[in-house]
Amino acid sequence: MNEVVLELKNVTKRFGGLTAVDKFSGYIKKGELVGLIGPNGAGKTTLFNLITGMYEPDEGEMLFFSNRLNGLKPHQITRLGIARTFQNIRLFSDMTVLENVMVAQHCKLHSMFSMFSFVFKIPSALKFERNVRVHSEKLLEKVGLLSFANEKASALPYGLQRKLEIARALATEPKLLLLDEPAAGMNPQETSELMDFIKTIRDEFGLSIIVIEHDMKVIMGICERIYVMDYGKLIAEGTPKQIQSNPLVIKAYLGEEVLL
């Protein structure tokens, strides 16, 4: 049960003279909900980009179950079972809500040559289409977006766009979900709904989840374990309680105490 899903060993990423992620090591176990916090520019999103293959690490190793993630392309990593959402929502805005979720299941087709079976409408291709549609509608029903299925994604209110982005990530059938500031721009009511939602999908889909978030209520409320980053370095790790009283964390957020 307590199998390690993702393990990072001394992962480093430099942009010119700036070390955005500096020898980061960490892990997440099956079913865990882990928070990743730190001041702006601490390297949290860069770490997500490294895990999902958007960037290539300069040093270190990333293991997902027994697969080495280094050198894999983003689409290959998604197929292994890592899905993400983005800090600034990146939906396919001119497509419908249903299509957004359906497109995320395209990765189940492995060969470009299966394109011909779709052009010639071979029964297996039609069956694939039907299955994807049924599966997507079920997923939308679970997250409560089914009534918006035929709306354009850009027509949804902000909070629901965030939810749709999570639903779209779920459609790739991930084992690990990376959420980048899911509560950004939400009001307290929406935020508390989102917290319940994250917990629900974790249990229902058997996920491990890493959340980047600035809203401490969210992080402290749902995460079992927290990593704190500052200037690319891991400065603290522990339970919410431990983190709250950690002097290094307080220093990173509030600055050093000035002695007179």
């Binding site: 392309k73 689409h75 983005f86 396919f92 001119d94 497109v103 990765c107 779709f118 694939f128 790739t172």
Partner: protein, 355 residues
Amino acid sequence: MGMVKRLSVKTKTVLTILFVVLMALLIAIADRKASDYLVLILNLIAINIVFAVSLNLINGITGIFSLGHAGFIAIGAYTSVLLTLPIEQKEMSYLIKPLIYPFNRIELPFLPAVLIAGLVSAGFGYLVAAPSLRLIGDYLAIATLGLGETIRVIANNAWSITNGALGLKGIPPYTNLYWSWGWALITVVTVASLVNSSYGRALKAIREDSIAAKAMGINVFSHQVMSFVVGSFFAGVGGALWAHLITTIDPKSFTFTKTFEILIMVVLGGLGSISGSIIGAAIYTVGLEFLRVLESPFKVWFINYPGVPGMRMVVLSVLLIVLMLFWQRGIMGRNELSWDLVASSFSKFKRGGKR
């Protein structure tokens, strides 16, 4: 959107079959009764549909701004002509340098020549796509523009293959209404089934946000290459049909103005809409012919109009500018003409415009 009336799948299938049969009947009648001029225009409409729909797959659906379509049309045209031109005609044409083997021994029927033309064009598309798709946006547009021109320049100088600037004459006029509209139908059906499948959604996702598409497990590069190759195939097929319609080709027929002509049809109809491309191709082809009156002298009441050569292009450009000012996303936008849409606008019409 909520206004759109939904018809059952069965009704739609019946309507589609009826529509295709009706079109086939009209074409059969036109083939027998219509004047040569009208037949030429109808052929050109069909061939322009092939060009516009194939370019729309690349530019509108996948969002790759390619300006190299004329190059692929040239490849298709030359390939098919080299295969179908009678051997004695080849001996007469190649005056500067003789045609290389095996083309000087080959004389194929039309269908295999068109298919090979499409495949050769698709093959070139594949070779070209791999390096140029590493670029994005404006850079890709410039690269593909240069590529189209390169193909034309090669055609101008490869005397032993293309007969250089002299071009090729006496091409058998194989293209008739059945061939051109048959291929137009194949193009539309193929592209539409691709676009409405899982692959089409992936292509649209790439157009909307390529980073998010990657994160959803889509291999962006190979999908873009696929779209480019399919588009090139039909550009080549269209080129073959065109060459066998006008029966004479030379490198000047494939300048970048050819690409822009097709781009105008696509943008006019709506970038990303297949039915839009069909409408755009038809309007552009017919419009250009209607405006021909401006190039010959005529008299309105007491004003004598002298007839200015090239005037129709000026007027057409102005018309297009006006059209784009009022219809910025083209006639169809990204929507498709469907039976649902037809039915709902028809019922709206019946209720006297009341909602």
